[in-house]
Symmetry: C2
Subunit: 118 residues, 2 copies
DNA sequence: CATGACACTCTCCTTTGGGTTAGTACCGCA
DNA sequence: TGCGGTACTAACCCAAAGGAGAGTGTCATG
């Protein structure tokens, strides 16, 4: 009954669910994090854009700005010409990788199952 | 380098990420699944609606229809008056619970950390 | 001499998710 | 007799997310 009270009290929307999804819920949020992770070293803006085709400038920029504001990504700007900006994962960002991998794995196995059943 | 090729080949959008998020990405998708799970028995439409306040009829209906179409939820209709419809998790839906709990836990601990640091 | 790379910004446009309101058909209960 | 509960559907609306395309300033390369 404690479980149900928990729902009835209507806290469901205020749990970690909503919190986590606010951070990684965007169309390319997880892809961006994962791409940086897999690269094993900082990634430049245009490199990231090429990896996340067909993302647009606008979306990539806002995606990165939000990830930075949420402390998942670190932005390092080199004031030179031509400009150079590198993005890397913060420890917090890294801590999300296992969670994202679970999501990914579930989807992979499910896709495989669907394919098998046809 | 295999990792990077994986990205470069541009398969990132076609991985389990996108697949899983298509299934549970809606505003109330995970909440609905979790509510049914916690109830330990089938939930009726209006009961679910009360738990997911402030969800609207339209959104709850489309949410449930999509979950059903994706095989995560089972819909059982009792042709009586007044009508009665019960929703329960399929085994596939149940298999998502641990993944969702990981997402939830990460968010909870992160919220706690943010609170602590102020 | 001109093109392209760099890391963007700006403006406008479309799509999508979700919200609002109203209505349906029937019944039990006060 | 009329109100509330049951599980919806239909029509319309709104805001936010994302996409398209052009522009910026400087430099290296062909």
């Amino acid at each position: 009954m404690a479980d149900i009270d928990y729902i009835k009290e209507n806290r469901l929307q205020d749990t970690g669910f909503a919190y986590t999804l606010r951070l990684i819920g965007g169309k390319y949020k997880m892809q961006a994090l994962y791409a940086i992770h897999l690269n094993h070293q900082p990634l430049r803006y245009n490199a990231l854009k090429r990896l996340l085709v067909p993302i647009s400038f606008k979306t990539l920029t806002s995606t990165l700005r939000e990830l930075e504001a949420d402390g998942l990504v670190h932005r390092e700007e080199y004031p030179q010409i031509p400009p150079k900006v590198e993005y890397s994962l913060t420890p917090l960002g890294e801590s999300l990788i296992p969670v994202m991998e679970d999501i990914c794995n579930w989807g992979e196995s499910q896709m495989a199952a669907v394919k098998r059943d046809r």
